[in-house]
Symmetry: D2
Subunit: 310 residues, 4 copies
């Protein structure tokens, strides 16, 4: 067993022993039913080797982590024009806050809060029907993960749709400002399907390789290296809602969390990392997931702020 | 002339040609009088070589860049206890906003907005008289810069004190919540003196070496490598006020700006960089300074999100 | 012609000469098409005499004035339990603001802003189907006005429904907090029909008699005198959105405005007054309507703050 | 004993029996030491008869009730120009909130919240020295109360000054926007002295006569009847901080409360009323004071919304 495998195993061991695990999301039944004691970790190195521990093969609902893939698709579709409709700044407020939209005229702060990701979906629907956009997303994730078995959990998607009143409020509110163009129901239907992607830590870490490797995955170019750097920058600034500064402080890694308890983190040039533990902290980020990444960086020195040879 | 020198010269050339230069801060006369056409850049490499161009030897008022040094001193004095009195999150609002303090009970969002830096000063005054704290700061900056000629501009300090009503409001407001302990006037007197440090790009880039080199400067340890990484993380998340996400997106570097038009940026392990141009954008950051750093990263690949060899 | 008739005629004359008339609401075509030069006034005295001038017989869209009638019905249905779901305080913000709902957990500030009136509709739907609630409203307004010709303008109702994204946002947002119980579409359908009542100044002033006469209308009791006083108090505090304090200051009368340009005002014990002019001020209240009421009070001394004999 | 005397005695009796009395203000020692079981009431009728019960002769700190007298003086000094520097709208937030000042550029919402009253003091200092302004206030209150024994409690004034950090924040903040002209310390010194007026219920009710009697007091004109109506309107809209709507709903009287537990209420043309009980509700208004006024109105029908003969 090599060094990284040993580290990954140690971390899984340590996390198993933690008593405080946060609170599992309970706003929809399919998420509330996930056992709180799950923990998985997968690390894909630049050379393609994969190291996993714990429940790394269990699929879970990636939820807001899908916002990274949706942003990638939208930048592919319209390029920097996207930034006319969504900002690039941390929000300074909760993931589903509506306050900022009022004072900033319906322009969400960044593509990684709910309002921003809903605009991103609307941008994709500028060229596609919802069914096509959902199909495009699924093909994209399967492609970057190199795994055709990834699916969307329709039970989760339906449950989101039945209870997503805050998201309906956000979408209608932005529509009132003219920043949603397609019918609100179609935009949200697309958005909820994206959120309902079910992936394991292994699949998620595989999918994140293009962000680790300057836009490359399996030897072909998914996006430019410049765009990869920029998406990483956004993940660092805005990837953990109103807890992003703290996550950057503790880990020094770009990362994106979801209320399903997953986190995708990137050590540029080195590794793509996925962790999963369903219990959340008060900001809606995986409590043990953040802790596991903090430990990983302590043991490996993968922080982007680590001095490096040029 | 080596590669970096050439790049630095090119950038200075390009900046000189820019027409749009932002708006020079005018809230105190000593800042308003600075010529808008100034531009300087200094790059200190890990090996100690220094590359400068433009007005790199002109001293300017570093203003909020001093918040980085004050934070370093406060962490040295009280360690992580500091975080009980100030947060680590981007503010999502202007540098001098008071709104967040009301809803968050007098705890400022981070040490790089005015309210946070005022708390940092108050922490230093827990052990020192104002005169001592100002002396300690001056000694610290001279030490890390390796330059005994650095001074505090008393004319600027006095002008700040005469007009700093918003800062007085912030300090009194936090005092009402019990988050300022020393008399408000002493805390602000200290704060305004810190802001009034006058340094050239060369001096500032020299001073930033410890943040570039894992806490080391001139062969001795200023702070631990862990603390250096963390300060860099905070600079990336919060160093440009409500424009921090955009700066990270464009440059991929930790940086801290001041309304004097200076920016200190860090490429960990590679270089400490200072730029200066007095014209500011609407968020209070140097317009050309940000642009110069964006160019520098484009030409050198120094973004922390650039894939690197392990 | 008696004194009041003369005053009413003078005011209509004066208003006709005003150059600055405000801005006609243009968010739906049926409102945007109303001629800006319309002005009507009707005063119903306690003894039943009616004084009108100008376009007092033209029906217009009463819009938010219907919130007074909806509140009357909801208090009749559930009494003071209503106040568990909506407050009694001026909002300090715009009529369609969503900010306050986030910090106050989905409880709108008062029943005269949009969010509050939507909750009032939801309360009515606790016992009735939308069609029944709309029928009840129509019967109520016809009864208090003593006029069976009053109708709901279906063209306006449909236009509201097609463009009411902010109201959809408000309703979904409150539903997320559990403060809307019926399906959002049904609640809003009801709300938009209430807003689309078409009434003339004469009809509106007649309808307001029960608020002028301690709850009595045409010799029978519509509501108790205590409830009439309280509804008047709410109209005084909250009846002109974020302009309510100024309206109270200028007129000293309880009143409720609508974006159709109408205002219903009450001089308790003396008169029920309706004015109409489509041009609005920046807070969404009829510019000339407010001015006309100010003049009326100057000429009659009907302010509730006028010293009176006991 | 006549009818009003009997009613006043009954109310004092009933209040004595109340268990829930609110929470005595404790931010300065002189207020914290006031016994919680105090209750006083005084009613001055238009004919000059005075009815009192309970602790109606005990002096207490009138605190924010002084804002009514300060407004009267400022309107006397500069007339409607005052409204360029302070609004006339309820604030929708707490009495000492600073949030609104940021979004509304240093213009406080109304003269009855702290920020607004501080501006009113600054307006008075446009023509007078602090000592003169304090002297003018004392003479004014003595004159309208017809009582030369009224004093300012210097112990309270000093305690306010030592702890008034929020007020210092408000004043400095408005100064930063240019809406405070005199030195902040002088403005606050004046403000704190106004707040420290010590008056009994009897004295306060006597002082309020000019607001009850169309601006007349003791047969001479203090202000015009129009100004008296307008001040009453402001008291109704804004006199109980973020609880003003509820107070209007329950009592139908213009009133102004202070954190010392006093309330001055006005039944125009009928009576000037003062109540006092130190326990406060969560909005900072006297709990029993509000209840006593509610009872008084129930027993007398003095609500301004009571239908009246013309």
């Amino acid at each position: 067993m090599d060094a990284i495998s040993a580290i990954v195993a140690e971390i899984a061991e340590e996390m198993r022993a933690q008593e405080h695990r946060g609170k599992v999301a309970d706003y929809i039944p399919p998420l509330a039913q996930v056992p709180a004691d799950k923990f998985g970790i997968a690390v894909v190195m630049r050379d393609g080797t994969v190291h996993t521990a714990g429940d790394a093969e269990d699929p879970f609902s990636i939820q807001s982590i899908s916002k990274v893939f949706a942003l990638t698709l939208a930048l592919g579709a319209v390029g920097d024009q996207l930034w006319q409709r969504v900002g690039r700044e941390p929000s300074g407020s909760a993931f589903n806050s509506i306050v900022q939209l009022e004072t900033e005229h319906g322009i969400p702060r960044n593509p990684f809060i709910n309002a921003g990701a809903i605009v991103v979906c609307d941008v994709l629907l500028g060229r596609l029907q919802p069914r096509e956009a959902i199909g495009q997303m699924l093909r994209f994730v399967r492609m970057v993960a190199g795994d055709e078995t990834i699916v969307i959990d329709e039970v989760v998607a339906r449950a989101e749709q039945e209870t997503g009143f805050r998201n309906k409020a956000l979408a209608n509110y932005m529509r009132a400002f003219g920043n949603i163009h397609a019918p609100v129901d179609l935009v949200l239907g697309t958005y909820f399907h994206f959120c309902s992607l079910a992936m394991s830590c292994r699949q998620l870490a595989m999918a994140g390789r293009y962000l680790m490797a300057g836009g490359q995955s399996d030897g072909h170019s998914v996006i430019s290296d410049r765009r990869a750097r920029r998406i990483n920058a956004l993940m660092m600034s805005c990837g953990h809602y109103d807890n992003s500064g703290d996550f950057a402080y503790r880990t020094g890694l770009p990362g994106k969390s979801g209320v399903g308890g997953g986190i995708l983190a990137v050590a540029p040039g080195i590794a793509s990392i996925a962790v999963w533990s369903p219990g959340l902290n008060s900001s809606g980020n995986s409590h043990l997931g953040q802790l596991a990444l903090e430990r990983l960086v302590q043991k490996t020195g993968w922080s982007v702020f680590e001095p490096r040879a040029q």
